[in-house]
Assembly symmetry: C2
Homo-oligomer: 140 residues x 2
């Protein structure tokens, strides 16, 4: 479900005007293959074992670059910490479980959002963030 059709990361980055350095490719690949709406710390923990010199500064630099180039989006569902997700074909919202902390994708049709009163506004980003208790935790 989360897998997307970017086969050649090198090419994908280049197409958006980003030089595909070793670190940048690793960070993009991690985001693409992980399904946990990663924080900077998640990425750092996951990659620093393989790339021992990797610094958080580089992760921040890289993520900001990706966001600027619109291939990654920031999810503000967590007030204390930004989460990052690959920009996907199908826009979707997010649900965070208060109990277990897990973040779920919520697929909904953004085109049918009942938005009124927005004459002459240009919408660039849309985020739908829900919180509550997830199915698993409700069963307990």
């Amino acid at each position: 479900m989360r897998g997307i059709d970017i086969v050649d990361i090198d090419d994908h980055l280049r197409k958006t005007g980003i030089k595909p350095s070793y670190q940048r490719k690793a960070i993009f690949e991690y985001l693409m293959n992980s399904n946990c709406h990663s924080t900077v710390n998640d990425i750092y923990m996951a990659l620093s074992s393989n790339i021992s010199t990797l610094s958080k500064t580089t992760i921040y630099n890289t993520l900001n670059l990706f966001v600027d180039h619109n291939i990654v989006e920031v999810i503000n569902i967590d007030p204390n910490e930004a989460r990052y997700d690959i920009v996907r074909e199908v826009p979707h919202g997010h649900f965070k479980c208060e109990e277990c902390g897990e973040i779920y994708d919520i697929f909904l049709d953004f085109n049918t959002l009942p938005i009124k009163d927005l004459n002459n506004f240009t919408i660039k980003t849309q985020q739908i963030n829900l919180t509550g208790i997830c199915g698993k935790c409700n069963e307990k």
Copy 2:
């Protein structure tokens, strides 16, 4: 439009189990009458001239108390800074203009959100955050 029907703040706080101290009433009143989805700093700037001893700690304490008691909600539209809004009868989303920074209320029917795949989930909070360029800035 933003005005709500809370006439007696003292009573409103008491009903939700909050002791209506001078500071708490002032903060709640400010949120009720302002229309700018205030930050902690906004509140501090606005009130500290009248309440010279007011500290940001008290504002944080108070807002967290209000949020816990469900009479104020946090808006995470701004990654760097939390914004606070009175919980209103009519749920609504928010739009932040990248140009002027203004935050607008977006009225939409949360009940008709096209959400699927949420069997057995309990939804407690819903936030819809949009960004882009507002009508005023588009005219320039």
